[in-house]
């Protein structure tokens, strides 16, 4: 089949709403875009465990500690679903982790901000997971079968993440003046990084048009961001939080909350390695990956020994 013919058939399958499975013919650029996007998504889940892990030992109650542990365990599982989806395109997990450690693969820049107080755990669940859910609900409709299935499972599990975060914020906002101040401070620090999670404006987005044509994305960055803003502003007001955007205003015509300009300079600075925690996050991942080496060696030696015993027991 000629390339042109394959491309035409591929596009018509996409236009008909069919899902593409790993063994199906696909343009090289489709495969590459998915690999980049899914591995970046997987790395984000795993690196995202670090800012929350920072508070496991200091969670204010046993209830809070159990919830936080369950949430972090979910994020590890979500990383695995996504690595598996990427592996279906013929890459090893080892290779992806190698790319992360070598700085060739990125992860969501939002995880390069520190978690300074307990309210940050509330803000992450409510805002960061909230933004992720808006994005992932869209990605569940994407054209690549394994990615779409992983997203469905993740969305189902993440339902509690956002609610537990909002619960933390709501409880602090009904607490003492110091607790309210702490919640507002977390809101001030996490609001803008959460809006940046949706990526550059549609007019600036490098990968968008091809991704939309192939239904790797089915809605644009700005549209998703607006959906998140509309929902979240109302939730903030409901518990008395102030959105840290003096230009934020409600548009009666479009029924949208319109945000002021996003500081893209900061976004690109953090993406390119100069955020508050980039270095720390990567060192931590490399350190524990290396330190786990003996566990992997032992497990492999044990499996080999078992295999030998099984082989000889036949005779």
């Amino acid at each position: 089949m000629s390339d042109e013919m394959m491309l035409k058939q591929f596009q018509s399958r996409i236009d008909n709403g069919e899902k593409i499975e790993p063994g199906d013919p696909m343009p090289d650029a489709y495969r590459k875009t998915l690999l980049r996007q899914i591995s970046q998504h997987a790395h984000s889940e795993v690196i995202g465990m670090q800012p929350e892990g920072n508070w496991v030992l200091r969670a204010p109650s046993l209830r809070a500690k159990k919830i936080l542990l369950a949430k972090i365990q979910d994020e590890g599982g979500h990383g695995l679903y996504l690595y598996s989806a990427a592996e279906s395109l013929g890459i090893d997990r080892d290779e992806m982790i190698g790319q992360l450690h070598a700085g060739k693969a990125k992860y969501s820049s939002v995880f390069n901000y520190p978690t300074l107080t307990w309210a940050d755990i509330g803000a992450i669940g409510w805002l960061v997971d909230g933004a992720a859910i808006v994005n992932q609900t869209m990605l569940a409709k994407c054209s690549f079968g394994p990615y779409s299935r992983a997203m469905l499972r993740i969305c189902k599990e993440e339902g509690f993440h956002q609610r537990q975060g909002y619960e933390i914020m709501a409880r602090m906002m009904s607490g003492t003046a110091a607790q309210k101040e702490m919640a507002q401070d977390a809101m001030n620090r996490w609001w803008w990084p959460s809006l940046m999670m949706f990526g550059p404006h549609d007019t600036e987005s490098v990968h968008s048009s091809e991704s939309m044509k192939w239904k790797i994305k089915v809605e644009s960055n700005d549209r998703l961001r607006q959906r998140f803003i509309n929902r979240t502003v109302e939730q903030a007001h409901h518990i008395g939080l102030i959105v840290p955007d003096p230009l934020l205003k409600y548009n009666d015509q479009t029924m949208n909350w319109e945000a002021g300009p996003i500081n893209w300079e900061e976004f690109y600075k953090v993406i390119n390695g100069d955020g508050p925690c980039n270095h720390k996050r990567m060192l931590h991942h490399i350190k524990y990956h290396r330190e786990g080496g003996w566990v992997r060696d032992a497990a492999r030696a044990f499996a080999e020994k078992q295999q030998e015993t099984a082989d000889t027991s036949i005779y």
Binding site: G23, D94, I97
Partner: protein, 99 residues
């Protein structure tokens, strides 16, 4: 890559979960593990944290034989003209009951 000399991601397994008694096992996803026991435990930890199942199968991915996309016509087209294998193909006399 020099950084990852310790790496061993282990072989890949496919996980099947039976959601409730009597239901068929359904594919849940895949994972890496060094042996059967680790595969079963990882499957529980990753795919059954919210009472998704009551029983798990794990199978090494390499042991699964699968049709290829180009096999679709050969494998599945022959059923297309054999509607007589389904009950609604048959015309019953008016007023027939219990069929």
């Amino acid at each position: 890559m020099g950084m990852n000399t310790n790496d061993n991601q282990f072989k890949q397994w496919e996980v099947f979960i039976q959601p409730r008694s009597g239901a068929p096992y359904e594919h849940a996803g895949s994972l890496h593990a060094s042996d059967q026991q680790m595969a079963l435990q990882n499957a529980r930890d990753v795919y059954a944290r919210r009472s998704e199942g009551r029983s798990i199968w794990v199978v090494p991915t390499v042991s699964i034989a699968a049709t290829k996309p180009e096999d679709e016509a050969e494998f599945f087209d022959p059923a297309g003209d054999k509607l007589y294998r389904t009950p609604n193909f048959y015309k019953m006399p008016k007023g027939t009951t219990g069929l």
